[in-house]
Subunit: 225 residues, 2 copies
């Protein structure tokens, strides 16, 4: 193919929507921008993707640098979400962003990252760029993923109680679920097994701890509402 003018590609960036669970709330990792544009506002961690790096490599590098999180070691799961490409989304010029969505649990931020924090997805600050809509899209995707995969495993500790499992579903889906039906159905999927351990906390009956048979992502034959 021939061009009358030299070919100039748009800037390519990568951004990550990283979720974790904190009690009953789903949280997302943000960084505060130190430079214009949007200086001082919160944004998804992300940065440039230069030629020679895949988008996931570029993302791993930039997330490590900006918020001190090691995607391979600290996230249970990451997948490509969508590519956002409207010309006006970055005031500096045309910029195409390949976004990823990941999940982890009790994620520790690196020491050099004072300007990074988790925010509850229902109480986000003002966000730079189109990042609010990216987070909304990621949350929908995550909610859908929980219904037809074992992705919830990525949000929980290796051993967890059935109440914690149910709380994870309720936090992501944003609605309450009947306890008896939830347990009956989830156990019937055969994804988890009891462990000999118990969870003891507070003045009430201890809870059995369960674990997933398979922590890698698995698509279910029956979907879960």
């Amino acid at each position: 193919m021939k061009y009358a003018t030299p070919y100039i590609p748009p800037t390519l960036t990568v951004d990550a929507v990283i979720f974790q669970l904190n009690g009953t709330e789903l949280e997302v990792l943000l960084t505060q921008r130190s430079e214009d544009p949007f200086k001082g506002e919160w944004a998804l961690p992300g940065g440039y993707n230069a030629t020679g790096s895949t988008t996931l490599e570029a993302l791993a590098s930039v997330v490590k640098r900006k918020v001190g999180v090691d995607i391979d070691a600290q996230l249970a799961y990451i997948e490509q979400l969508y590519t956002f490409d409207t010309v006006a989304r970055d005031p500096r010029g045309h910029c195409v962003s390949v976004t990823y969505m990941g999940c982890g649990r009790a994620i520790e931020l690196g020491s050099g990252s004072q300007h990074a924090a988790f925010f509850p997805v229902d109480k986000l600050p003002n966000l730079a760029y189109d990042h609010a809509s990216i987070i909304a899209y990621a949350r929908e995707r995550l909610s859908a993923k929980l219904t037809y995969t074992n992705a919830v495993a990525g949000l929980l500790e290796p051993k967890f109680t059935l109440s914690q499992l149910q709380t994870a579903y309720e936090a992501v889906m944003g609605r309450e679920i009947d306890k008896r039906n939830f347990r009956k159905k989830f156990l019937s999927l055969g994804l988890i097994h009891e462990t000999p351990d118990m969870w003891r906390e507070g003045a009430h009956r201890p809870a059995k701890l369960y674990a997933f048979n398979n922590t890698s992502l698995e698509v279910l034959s029956r979907s879960f509402d």
Copy 2:
């Protein structure tokens, strides 16, 4: 963010997986490459995305030029599929491709496109680049889409028989479906209505023609197996 070396983005390209139905077969649109690399091999229609164009604008332009198809006018439906970015996927250098999937019916190719044709998805020629895996991914996505949206409308004529509708599902899903159960379930979704017209063809009973109430993409409350 500062870089020791000047920032150079990868090449950005766009590619389209365009499906149509031909009788009982699902077909995909390919073009034969006129230049190296992969000269003479078949590939998805696609090309460069220069700065200033969104991926969908770039795609519309390149698809019109290469195969003479007008995405807005001739496709019922198009959506972003995935962004493929492995460094080695193009022998000329690092190239990131944003891919789209679309559906249409009885798509006419432009006159200037001798080197374009539809192929049955189950009988593809050797394909350039990683395009075989892109098509496989698109087909899975389309199959999933048919179960929870009215996307099948994009593969059919505005008026269609229930047998044609069932055949569309069977072609995309790649399996047979019981006729009585299919009709009962699909009609219960309330997506289509009878028209006064009949389909007459061959030495057998004529069939009622139906039409969708809503041809724009709609997510179903109950999913369809």
